[in-house]
Symmetry: C2
Subunit: 180 residues, 2 copies
């Protein structure tokens, strides 16, 4: 690994734990992302100085996140691994996967709690709060689903527009009112 690649890989490893996977999985993924050519499990183990078994588990994890794919080279029995898709695709995958793991279970727990009859004052207050949290999470999840289903170019336009989107909303209101 060159110094540039190494510092990226190490940083991504540390960050990995915050982003939902462990250090070595983060490092493996980082290395695959910046490698033009696919790598074998043994190459990963060697470059990162980790055990072959650990690489095998890491690969399984990255596959469960659908972040890497396998490539076979004719006449070679080894499996080669490759980061999947564009940076944009990767970001979407991570985002989606985290929503599944962090938000969805909470939403279903909240739905359950809101179905219970509140027995007393304390419960009534608690349920009010749970309701607010539920509604917020639901709005945000629905929204993020919809954003993800948008064409990436349009989404990019939207993001670049930034808070300017407020003006566009006003603008639409105004024009609609005039024409009515």
């Amino acid at each position: 690994m060159t110094p540039i690649v190494e510092s990226f890989v190490l940083h991504f490893g540390e960050m990995g734990s915050r982003w939902g996977f462990n250090r070595t999985v983060g490092q493996m993924y980082a290395l695959l992302v910046v490698s033009k050519d696919p790598l074998t499990a043994n190459q990963l183990a060697e470059e990162l100085n980790i055990s072959r078994g650990n690489v095998s588990m890491g690969i399984k994890e990255l596959q469960s996140w659908q972040l890497i794919c396998t490539k076979h080279i004719p006449g070679d029995r080894k499996e080669y691994y490759l980061a999947l898709g564009s940076i944009w695709d990767m970001a979407m995958k991570v985002f989606e996967e985290r929503r599944k793991r962090e938000v969805d279970p909470t939403l279903s727990m909240l739905r359950g709690a809101l179905l219970q009859k509140s027995g007393n004052d304390k419960d009534a207050y608690a349920q009010e709060k749970l309701h607010e949290i539920h509604d917020l999470l639901e709005t945000v999840t629905t929204w993020s689903h919809e954003l993800q289903s948008m064409n990436p170019d349009k989404l990019n336009t939207l993001m670049k527009l930034g808070s300017g989107v407020g003006k566009v909303l006003d603008f639409k209101e105004k024009v609609l009112k005039k024409s009515s």
Copy 2:
């Protein structure tokens, strides 16, 4: 704790680790959120069955996230704790804090790596990828900053609009073109 509150507190504790703090901190926060009246450190320790020292550390953590505040009751020497602001405020705080911890350090690492002269082909390819990641993270951070600076009502309108926002963007284009 009533059963409803307890299941919320336990769930939030487990989830807490995914959301950036540890189990007991998550539980403490959950309990404060659904409690109408402020609680003392001792009450937290007792309700959650954790040590007084752990509560003290948890409080410090929650304060560093600016998620709770202190209240004094006249004639009482104890400190009372209270979840801060509305659910919306809380979500914003958590979101912002996570951005600071998860994204900002990566952005500065990437900026550093992009300043290096790439020595060879491998580095050149790696830097291309780093560049893409950098640009994406920057766009997203800037956008989220701007969304956060918007008036919450407008932001809510925007979210409820969902992917319909694409149509509004088209609409604006069309009207502007006509009038030019």
